[in-house]
């Protein structure tokens, strides 16, 4: 069953890429989707059936503008630090615990953290994220965990957990 879903996703991406519905393109796409499915189908997201629930897509649609807004703020923040004559940086590596259980949720959280204000995920061991932070503004783990991960965690929990 999961192989069929994986195959269909590959086909949709292929059709969107080529944007051509002639028999030639469709058959080539089917062959390559089949090869991809044989090799990588077993790595498809475990427990994918819960993504049939439309509520998750509703939260995903809410999450995208919030994420984009944070991302734009992050860019202006880093840009300001880059062009400031005295390089306003105070870097270090901090660790943050996450409450998200599924692997795909952790990956999306780590990617979101990398895209936001001066933070870069270096490693993920168990449920601990190691984050390089360009300007450490607080020494208290509770405050910086909320500042780095808390904003996204509650949405990602609703989308992926």
């Amino acid at each position: 069953m999961r192989y069929i879903v994986f195959f269909l996703i590959c086909m949709v991406v292929w059709v969107a890429f080529t944007f051509n519905l002639s028999l030639q393109y469709i058959s080539i796409g089917a062959v390559f989707s089949l090869i991809t499915t044989i090799f990588f189908g077993k790595n498809f997201v475990p427990g994918w059936k819960k993504f049939l629930n439309p509520v998750r897509y509703f939260w995903a649609i809410i999450y995208i503008p919030i994420f984009l807004w944070e991302c734009i703020k992050a860019n202006f923040d880093v840009a300001y630090r880059v062009i400031h004559p005295r390089l306003l940086i105070n870097p270090g590596i901090v660790k943050v615990k996450t409450k998200i259980k599924t692997d795909i949720g952790k990956v999306i959280l780590a990617n979101s953290i990398t895209m936001t204000p001066g933070t870069l995920t270096i490693d993920l061991i168990g449920d601990t994220l190691y984050i390089h932070w360009i300007y450490i503004s607080s020494k208290n783990p509770a405050i910086y965990s909320e500042k780095i991960a808390g904003r996204f965690e509650k949405y990602i929990k609703r989308i992926f957990d």
């Binding site: 991406v13 969107a16 890429f17 080529t18 944007f19 051509n20 991302c71 734009i72 992050a74 860019n75 880093v78 840009a79 880059v82 062009i83 390089l87 940086i89 105070n90 870097p91 270090g92 590596i93 901090v94 660790k95 780590a110 990617n111 990398t114 895209m115 001066g118 870069l120 995920t121 270096i122 490693d123 061991i125 190691y130 390089h132 360009i134 450490i136 020494k139």
Partner: protein, 110 residues
């Protein structure tokens, strides 16, 4: 319409330029990656989006639109693996860094 396309292209080029300046000015590899991932990714998103606005729902426009989530997944993972790889190969943090919680969690090569 073409003025909006021009605006997005301008934003994209501006952020890419800032990313390059950051790459030159920052003191160590981790801070350089910060500038490279954030500014350059948003700049490239903006350029891809301008491309989509210009060409609309054609083969070329849709390719640009698919590029945006792909870039979100690949550039962040690339930055993560570069940072982790440099840590494991023993590249030190900048001497004025204030904190290092990652010390001792992975085996560092001498």
């Amino acid at each position: 319409m073409s003025s909006i396309v021009g605006l997005f292209l301008g934003i994209g080029i501006f952020f890419n330029l800032l990313g390059c300046i950051g790459l030159l000015r920052m003191p160590d590899v981790y801070n350089r990656l910060q500038a490279a991932t954030k500014c350059v990714t948003l700049g490239t998103w903006s350029i891809l989006f301008a491309h989509f606005l210009h060409f609309g729902f054609t083969a070329s426009g849709i390719k640009a639109l698919i590029g945006i989530p792909l870039l979100f997944l690949t550039s962040t993972v690339a930055a993560h693996s570069l940072a982790r790889g440099s840590y494991i190969f023993g590249i030190k943090l900048w001497k004025k860094s204030v904190k290092d919680d990652y010390k001792g969690k992975v085996k560092v090569k001498k």
